[in-house]
Point group: C2
């Protein structure tokens, strides 16, 4: 059966996004210094050949185990689930052809028509989104793409099989924390793999 997994960048102090990185300030990366903080979080990825190719950032970039990990992670995804805020960021930030080659289920209370394929808006909650994602993923895996609140909902449902975290040495101080609002019984993980790069440590955990 498909695995359900999370694959995100995390600041050393546990934030997925810095304070100030919101729609209103999308064009003001100097606001609360969010652009520099985001850059320090994701810089490792933007240097990889696979990401440069996928986001159409131009030729070049590193090849090696981190690049291989990015490629195999992307290739195993059969469906994505994300929250509305992440989608709205993407609507503005992604290139014309969004970097998802699978169905994407967007959790929202808002009724709206599909944006452009492959985005589907789900008003019936996270369980229903996961059901639909399982159907469309086939034998591939389902990535809970984010944001933090969506990942927290699936952690509390106990359905996350794998947690993949690229831990960058930057401190954000404030922002959107990954690990909050978790309820007992907490899911239990064990260490699966550790891959170290110069600007991020790639931690892989699997559910016990």
């Amino acid at each position: 059966m498909s695995k359900v997994f999370v694959n995100i960048g995390l600041s050393l102090d546990g934030y997925m996004a810095p304070e100030g990185m919101t729609m209103e300030n999308w064009d003001k990366p100097e606001y609360k210094n969010w652009g520099a903080k985001w850059g320090a979080l994701m810089g490792w990825a933007l240097n990889q050949e696979y990401i440069r190719e996928n986001l159409k950032l131009g030729p070049g970039g590193e090849t090696g185990p981190v690049n291989d990990l990015l490629r195999s992670t992307t290739e195993r995804i059969g469906a994505n689930i994300m929250g509305k805020r992440m989608f709205e960021g993407g609507e503005r930030g992604w290139p014309e052809e969004a970097p998802f080659h699978t169905a994407v289920y967007v959790l929202t209370h808002e009724k709206r028509e599909p944006w452009v394929r492959p985005f589907y808006f789900i008003n019936d909650g996270p369980e229903r989104a996961l059901e639909l994602a399982r159907e469309s993923a086939g034998s591939r895996d389902i990535r809970i793409a984010g944001g933090a609140d969506v990942i927290q909902q699936y952690l509390n449902m106990g359905v996350i099989d794998e947690l993949e975290i690229a831990l960058a040495p930057v401190l954000f101080g404030t922002g959107r924390r990954l690990f909050e609002n978790l309820r007992e019984p907490l899911p239990q993980f064990r260490i699966d793999r550790v891959l170290d790069g110069p600007t991020a440590t790639h931690l892989g955990y699997v559910r016990q």
Copy 2:
């Protein structure tokens, strides 16, 4: 000059101690399950030969790179600084001969006589404790032992040279967070080393 460093265990969700691990519940490890959570956090250490010897837990234990790291970390400490809550936990939890072979400066507002050497109670704030620790450390290093609030004070002073974190795959859900109350400008670190063990990942960062 002496380095100032932090060396702690951290849960995957960023806690140094689980909720419920307080003086009142010291003899009730089943309260909010704090004993099991603490065990999951520190289990890697209690299996190491050096710690077993140091805490008088009996013979045996693992030898290898994690054990070597524990030994070299302990041996480079010339002075310790800690908060009052951590000291009070230690008063009850440590064996008769406390496992510190250096002066220990305890930050507190309370006036009290030295407990048993080497514990000194400092009422003049963290700067003064660091001055005294530098004097007594000589060429060795100064460990900011904890708790979280004390580490936060020294991070905000910008004097932490090295951050050593043993990241365990356990989730606490609630408790005492390491990274909170940090102020701009935030200290900047880079990755120095990553050592992976089966039950904790040993992350070393140095100030840029």
